[in-house]
Amino acid sequence: MKKLQSSFTNMVIVMTVVAVVAGGVLAWVNKVTAPQIEKINAENLSKGIFAVMGSDNVQVSEAKEVGDYVFYLVADKTGKPVGTAVTTQAQGFGGTLEILVGFDLEGTILGYTILSSAETPGLGAKANTWFQKGQKGDIVGKNPGTCNFTVSKDGGEIDAITASTITSRAFLGAIKKAYDELYGDKKPLSEP
């Protein structure tokens, strides 16, 4: 077949057809994948909430978006509030560090999980285990309101990840910010 000439009509027709077909295919793929993506996101969120609240017998009773934060008020199966899970973020070493952290009603940390990060593998990326219960930088059971919630280099109580002070500072800062938002001078969200 001979190559199509670059006449005005040809160009307009070809570009339009290419764009319309591409748009149509994308719309179809989006329709097919959207429910699956939503399912995965919802699953990840509920898995994350179970992990950070330290219990599988909880459910989200209410979700609130305030500024950069999303608060999930968490209650047990009988409806009694047990605390709040918060997504919070900070600028880490490689990019935005997004954390889901669980507080009980007094503001004591029950657990955390990293939702997304671009930290250096082998260094800052260790944040997902380093601050867990029983690890070197254990923050579980600490209350950012009553203890000095910064890295030991800055005079605080938490051991920073070796060679990743920037990540550690960002990580603790994000949690502290979420705590202040939730329990600071404002009325706690989880109170009726």
Binding site: K3, V14, M15, A22, L26, T120, P121, G122
Partner: protein
């Protein structure tokens, strides 16, 4: 040229990373570990094969003066499709590579092969060329990622998203941090190109 020769050409003689020096942005950006490099290479290969095939089929229908925008629309659609499919069915890899997937659109290897090969050759040959270049790119990225990971952290093929603990080659505390960061990427790439030219490309 036989199909096999076209594939081999992409892996050795026209290796996109070591010989053509195309697509340096993803090469340097994603190779902080071997698994990331491999996954990026395979994702690029997927787009490259399909874009080569489609562009080769449409080469006579697209007027010369609008060929670049048309190619870009095709490539961008394929990348968006890939992104949605990965997000839905391979969430593990998507978490690692999410940030870099949209950048495949501007990876010059893909537009480069569309222009240099697919626009002049038959669809089947173009598919083989996409495969060859894709394999070459994947191998190069995996190798570069492995070198950086070994020197930088002492462990290779570790990926928490897939639950792989990796192979420990030296004590973790002796890793040279620089190799995981950007300057290490340039250094490692420079040495690998030099070695590749010395031992593989014999003039």
């Amino acid at each position: 040229m036989s199909k096999f020769k076209i594939i081999l050409n992409g892996i050795v003689k026209e290796n996109p990373t070591f010989v053509l020096l195309l697509g340096m942005c993803p090469t340097l950006g994603t190779t902080s570990s071997a698994i990331n490099g491999l996954a990026m290479g395979l994702a690029t290969m997927f787009v490259l094969m399909l874009s080569n095939l489609i562009i080769s089929c449409l080469k006579n229908l697209i007027p010369d003066m609008v060929r670049i925008p048309s190619y870009i629309i095709i490539i961008a659609s394929l990348v968006t499709m890939l992104q949605m499919l990965m997000q839905a069915y391979l969430p593990g890899i998507y978490t690692t590579l999410g940030l870099f997937i949209p950048l495949i659109v501007v990876n010059c290897i893909i537009l480069g092969r569309a222009e240099a090969f697919a626009a002049k050759n038959s669809p089947l040959d173009s598919l083989c060329d996409g495969m060859g270049i894709g394999i070459g790119f994947s191998l190069a990225l995996t190798l570069l990622g492995a070198v950086r990971e070994i020197l930088g952290t002492g462990v290779v093929f570790r990926s928490e998203d897939f639950g792989m603990s990796g192979i420990t080659l030296q004590g973790e505390n002796y890793g040279m941090l620089m190799f995981v960061l950007a300057p290490g990427a340039f250094l490692a790439l420079g040495y690998l190109i030099a070695l590749f030219n010395k031992f593989v490309i014999k003039k």
